[in-house]
């Protein structure tokens, strides 16, 4: 899958309201139609790393931020400003294993529905060809703008 030129022209931090050390994706790989994907290199020192592994909460935050970055991208493209989103719910969460420090995690999200500032996504998290987690998540966008 090729890197989207458009999304590549934005830094991750310009797409998200989060700031380090709470940014949980290194870069957006693609954002096309109803799909988006990002990646994260799991590093020692990451807030969500415990005992050499990215925690389940960290995986969920990666998923949420991938979705948020897509929303941020579309918002910026439309001339708006990035707003703060919150995780509305998580369901069908299946974590096969948590990724280890040093592994590169890829997060792929598919938009199932978007209504009333709420986005429903299905997410798949992989390390190489190995699926390590799946989840369905609702991200609710607030009216509060992020600080850029």
């Amino acid at each position: 899958m090729g890197v989207s030129r458009k999304i590549g022209s934005y830094s991750v931090e310009s797409l998200l309201p989060q700031r380090p050390p709470f940014v949980m994706i290194d870069e957006m790989i693609a954002c096309e139609g109803d799909t988006a994907s990002s990646q994260l290199q799991v590093r020692e020192g990451n807030l969500f790393v415990e005992n050499g592994r990215l925690s389940a909460a960290g995986i969920m935050e990666c998923i949420a931020q991938t979705c948020a970055a897509r929303i941020g991208f579309l918002t910026l493209e439309g001339g708006g400003s990035v707003k703060i989103g919150v995780i509305g719910s998580v369901s069908n969460l299946n974590i096969v294993r948590t990724p280890r420090v040093g592994e590169c995690v890829r997060i792929s999200v598919t938009i199932m529905e978007e209504i009333f500032q709420i986005t429903l996504i299905d997410a798949c998290v992989t390390v190489g060809d190995e699926v390590i987690a799946n989840a369905r998540m609702k991200i609710a966008l607030t009216e509060k703008e992020g600080k850029n």
Binding site: G88, S89, M112, E113, I115, F116, I118, L120, K138, A140
Partner: protein, 80 residues
Amino acid sequence: MEREEIVRKIKEFMIEDLEIDEEKITDNALLKEDIGIDSLDFIDIVVIVEKKFGFKIKPEEMKPVKTFVQFVDYIEKKIA
């Protein structure tokens, strides 16, 4: 699809997918206040209705739909 079948399918997804207590689902129960459906549930309903009944709910069409029986009426009309 018969109305009874529509009611059965709606109750089924409300109980199984939205985890709503069956006793709360009565004809005149208000979707929001009595049954407890919120905006987060609504997005699930849109996805489930499309899957089970083959059409996509338009949010603006749902504005006058306040009770369970009105919701059944709405679905019945849409798939007629």
